[in-house]
């Protein structure tokens, strides 16, 4: 294991909200390129917070984080977008843009990169097909079901083959059948080279797969 092959490294990371709510306590973590890692913990354990640190939605209270070879604490605000373009995120609350259609929501990730219309059309349709939503391209997010919204969020996260995929509870609104499909999708993407970090509270999902799991309990890593 050379140091260069790590995609995420966290050193003594603390995150405290509002001065007293300790969401993360002394997190030390190393994720290799190409790994598939689960982040397991009960409600309020700090899974989402850890992910939000990785793409700089929040700053650490102390400690260092290195993502894809860059110390993201030292990243200037105006360069954060470079980090985020390498990371695909499935947000726990989906975070779809309500004024854009399903297609445009997924396409936005490619638009910011200035891709051609042809490429955008091809990739977005492929991604939406993978999550089984090819027939709802022109809907607005408020006009599809909860599970469908979640799948749009998944499509958006994977559409540009990110280096790192952060999936926060990505199957919470999906039935068993769909969940299995989505897990397969993540595995496929993982095989194509993307590192996957998936937060879940569902121990069964973890048990069914033969991958590493990181356990969080009240902000601390419980068992590595």
């Amino acid at each position: 294991m050379q140091p260069l092959s790590a995609i995420v490294q966290m050193f003594h990371v603390y995150k405290t909200f509002d001065g007293n709510c300790k969401a993360l306590v002394d997190i030390n973590l190393r994720i290799e390129k190409g790994e598939f890692v689960f982040l397991v913990g009960s409600s309020g354990a700090g899974k989402t917070t850890l992910m939000r640190l990785l793409f700089r939605e929040e700053k650490t209270s102390s400690g260092q984080i290195i993502v894809n070879g860059r110390n993201i604490n030292k990243l200037k605000d105006s360069h954060i977008y470079q980090l985020r373009r390498k990371i695909g995120v499935v947000f726990q609350d989906f975070k779809l843009i309500p004024t854009k259609t399903v297609f445009e929501n997924v396409a936005y990730v490619l638009r910011v990169l200035g891709r051609s219309r042809f490429e955008i059309e091809r990739k977005v349709c492929a991604a939406l097909k993978r999550v089984g939503l090819e027939h709802k391209l022109e809907r607005y997010p408020k006009r599809i079901s909860g599970g469908e919204q979640q799948r749009v969020a998944i499509a958006r996260a994977v559409v540009n083959n990110p280096v790192l995929l952060l999936a926060d509870e990505p199957t919470g609104n999906l039935d068993a059948e769909r969940s299995r499909e989505i897990m397969q999708l993540f595995l496929d993407i993982n095989h194509e080279g993307t590192t996957v970090l998936m937060a879940t509270h569902n121990l069964r999902t973890v048990e069914g797969m033969n991958e590493r799991a990181i356990y969080l309990r009240e902000g601390e890593i419980a068992h590595y």
Partner: protein, 307 residues
Amino acid sequence: MLITRIHAGFRHFFYFFRQAGRNFKIGGLSTIIAVISIACSLLLICLYLLVSSNLSPVLDLARNIEVVLYLKENISPRQISHLQQKLAGFVEVSEARYISKTEALEKFRRMLKKDAILLDGLAYNPLPASFELSLSHELKDPDLLKSFFSRLTNLPEVDSLQGGGEWVQKLSGLLMAIRLVLLCIGAILTIISLFIIASTIHLTIDNRRDEIIIMRLVGATEWYVRFPFVFEGIMEGFLGGCLALVISTVLYYAFCWEISPLLKLVFGISAIDFFGSREIFLILILGVLVGGLGAILPFCVPSHQMR
């Protein structure tokens, strides 16, 4: 490499343009309200321009200050033509008309009308010769006027000066005051309307706070996020400007018929002027500029952080 970059640039541009158009449609009532609100504030500037530009010929008319220079007795024709040249040389004087003693008596007779019989019993002409001076428009300041009048009175041929007294100074002062007040009102109106436009656009963008945060989270650069909103602001400003011009045209024609006859009666002005192309351009540019700036503003203040 460069070519692909330019290519991407064009793509971005067209995308922004389409987005701005779509946002406009989606915004619905809010957008309409914002446009009307902007139109209202630009209408203020329109009305101001209408009133002040139509007031200015009136003010100019009233500013034709006339004074009479009475000459001493026994001035020779040569001295008179010399004086005439001298007076014409002053930049402050736009016209100097010589009135001989005879002409003066004639005028006086006309002025007295039926009392003119009084003059029939006169053995000699007691009225002096004089110069009637029209002062040029540049002479606004009462102090300047005063010093100019004393220069006139000190001319050797001049006996006295009439009309250069308090009244002319008062009038000149009044016009200054009116101009000052108009200018201040104009400035205040402009500030008010610009502020309202900027804050209206701020409020419409504030509606989309969550959207903007999401765009940033999925890797858009700051400018990529802002551009569609700036475009939208510019379009709202432009439409607001157009609407303001339409409304002021309507108001103009509605009032023209009402006020024109009165104005004709009073000032002899044949019609109220409408905007020239310069003013129209000004209104639209103001709308567009403030619309664009107002759309950038909300990004510069930290209200877009999460609550």
